[in-house]
Amino acid sequence: MELVLAANPKEKNCGLVVFPPGTPRPVKIRRWMFFAIFCVITFMQAFYWLFANSAEPIVLGLPWGMFFVTLLIVIEFAVLLLMYFVEAQDMEDE
């Protein structure tokens, strides 16, 4: 099995290998995209106080900050489900 570890063959083992060799380009783009979305969600969760450090208004019985945190969880859940179904097709193809 041939394995390319870096773009330049003279460079021995120094680069990062994010995807196993032979991963199609659309799959790479798709994975980076999901990765980016989840990074944004994680940072918004960590820095929620930048956006919603307030008790009012009270939405659906939750104070604004708590509602915002919960909303992020719901969005995260939706994106995760989407990612699962997209990848599930890949898993069946294999």
Binding site: V17, T42, N53, L80
Partner: protein, 485 residues
């Protein structure tokens, strides 16, 4: 005589869990792969609760309401962390599972040690894990002891309460292995969630007529309670909220008792289903925080003393039926035990597989290796119990900072799968100062920069040294590292 009825309910629960856990694995053969990884056969429902039970710990169930009550908005961090915690496992889990199947790994350190070709690394990871585990277990034991104290109205002392719960946990971990742990989690998880919703919503509606009115009253009386970074006595700063959340998200899946569960799943699909469904646990935690918020307008902190006492104070003052009190306490016990069992099982496995097996020269038979794990489970249990009960506050404080230590495994995990150039010397030279810096800051020897979590500071140092030293040392053999990508 009410306490007798309450205690009976708690004991019925304990017997049921013991029965369920011990019998779950009875028909299986005795092998290491079965005892630690359930022969790589668990399906979605069991995996879901197995992972969920681990996050619904005593901290979430007793500490969560306490945080909401005392610190207010800072408790939202628990929701965020629970929802995001398993997310990085999407990267680690399936890869670890594939490697596990191929090379027969059952623990986290086996994977890393094989990639870096290093027995030293295996022992280092195992020792860091076990130290962190003891702290984690101590918290759960205190939670259990506390439940018994309330259930018996002070008649069962701390040492006995912790002992009863732990003997039950040890028994089913000893006999049932990971299958026992998994099946008890299904029951414990479902039971906890149901009780949490009943309680949270009941308090809200009974005392205030609904959550909207409850939060309106809190905002009126304490305008800063639902904000972070206000600089008030029990509030936390912006930096500590953000960095605590980040360290928890990065570190959660690095905990060996969670990481190695990747080996238990039947397929990659099951693993990914578990991760995709995991945020639902965070939603289920919302009513747990309601319990604490409901207490804010009911009783001042000075009266109950410790914020953890808010839940028992609430049901004592609302004159709940003793049987219902028993059920609530059993649910709290379920939360603590479902973390205790997973950690105890992992600690025994890590000690036997990553220290004993690595350091003994003779090849172990499968039967003997399983025997070693069981002995280690009991041994670890005993030590953890002694630390929890007789350790005293000083020792418990010393064991803080477990999360910051565990997150130091992250660069190693990353390098295993993505960075072929990483070397053994780099890994060891990075992780040791990372862990040390974390503990030094945690114990106050070194100052905490800008209130940032010590784990993040240790991690920065760890990564820098890891990368620099890796480039300075001879690259590992290409054929070997390519197996892991």
């Amino acid at each position: 005589m009410n306490w007798i009825a309450t205690l009976v309910v708690v004991f019925v629960y304990l017997f049921f869990v013991l029965f369920l856990g011990s019998f779950a694995g009875r028909k299986q053969e005795t092998s290491v792969a079965e005892y630690i990884a359930a022969s790589r056969s668990l399906g979605f429902i069991v995996m879901y609760f197995l992972m969920g039970g681990a996050i619904f710990s005593a901290f979430a169930y007793i500490g969560g309401p306490g945080w909401a009550y005392k610190r207010g908005a800072a408790s939202f961090y628990i929701l965020g962390y629970c929802a995001l915690g398993l997310l990085p496992w999407w990267i680690w889990g399936p890869r670890a599972a594939r490697m596990g199947k191929k090379f027969n790994y059952v623990t986290q350190a086996q994977l890393f040690a094989d990639r870096f070709q290093s027995k030293e690394l295996s022992v280092i990871i195992a020792v860091i894990s076990i130290i962190a585990f003891i702290q984690y277990i101590t918290l759960q034991m205190k939670g259990c002891a506390y439940v018994f104290e309330i259930a018996s109205e002070g008649r069962i002392p701390m040492w006995a309460g912790a002992l009863i719960a732990y003997v039950v946990v040890l028994a089913y971990v000893f006999f049932g292995g990971v299958r026992g742990v998994a099946w008890t989690h299904v029951f414990q998880g479902a039971f906890m969630v149901v009780m949490a919703w009943i309680l949270g919503l009941y308090f809200c509606y009974e005392l205030y007529g609904g959550p909207t009115e409850m939060f309106r009253q809190i905002t009126e009386a304490k305008p800063n309670h639902l904000l972070v970074g206000t600089g008030e006595e029990f509030d936390i700063s912006y930096a500590s909220y953000a960095s605590a959340l980040l360290v928890s998200v990065l570190g959660f899946a690095m905990w060996p008792h969670l990481f190695m569960k990747a080996y238990t799943a039947k397929s990659e699909k099951v693993l990914k289903q578990t991760i995709a469904m995991y945020p639902t646990f965070a939603i289920m935690l919302i009513p747990v925080l309601f319990i604490g918020f409901a207490g804010v307008q009911q009783v001042p902190l000075e009266v109950i003393g410790e914020s953890d006492r808010i839940l028992p104070w609430m049901f004592t003052n609302m004159n709940f039926h003793p049987l219902l009190v028993g059920l609530i306490l059993a649910a709290a016990l379920a939360a603590a035990m479902s973390t205790q069992d997973a950690v105890t099982h992992a600690a025994g496995s890590v000690f036997a597989q990553d220290i004993v097996k690595v350091l003994t020269k003779r090849e172990q038979t499968d039967k003997k290796a399983t025997w070693w794990i069981r002995i280690s489970v009991v041994g670890f249990g005993l030590i953890a119990y002694l630390v929890a009960v007789f350790g005293g506050q000083a020792l418990v404080d010393l064991l803080l900072g477990a999360y910051g230590a565990i997150v130091q495994f992250l660069p190693i995990a990353f390098a295993t799968f993505f960075w072929p150039r990483a070397t053994k010397v780099g890994a060891i030279c990075g992780i040791l100062p990372g862990v040390t810096l974390n503990y030094l800051i945690e114990f106050g020897v070194l100052p905490k920069i800008w209130d940032i979590h010590p784990g993040i500071q240790g991690l920065a140092l760890n990564i820098i040294i890891f990368v620099v030293v890796s480039f300075l040392t001879k690259p590992p053999a290409k054929e070997h590292v390519s197996k892991f990508i």
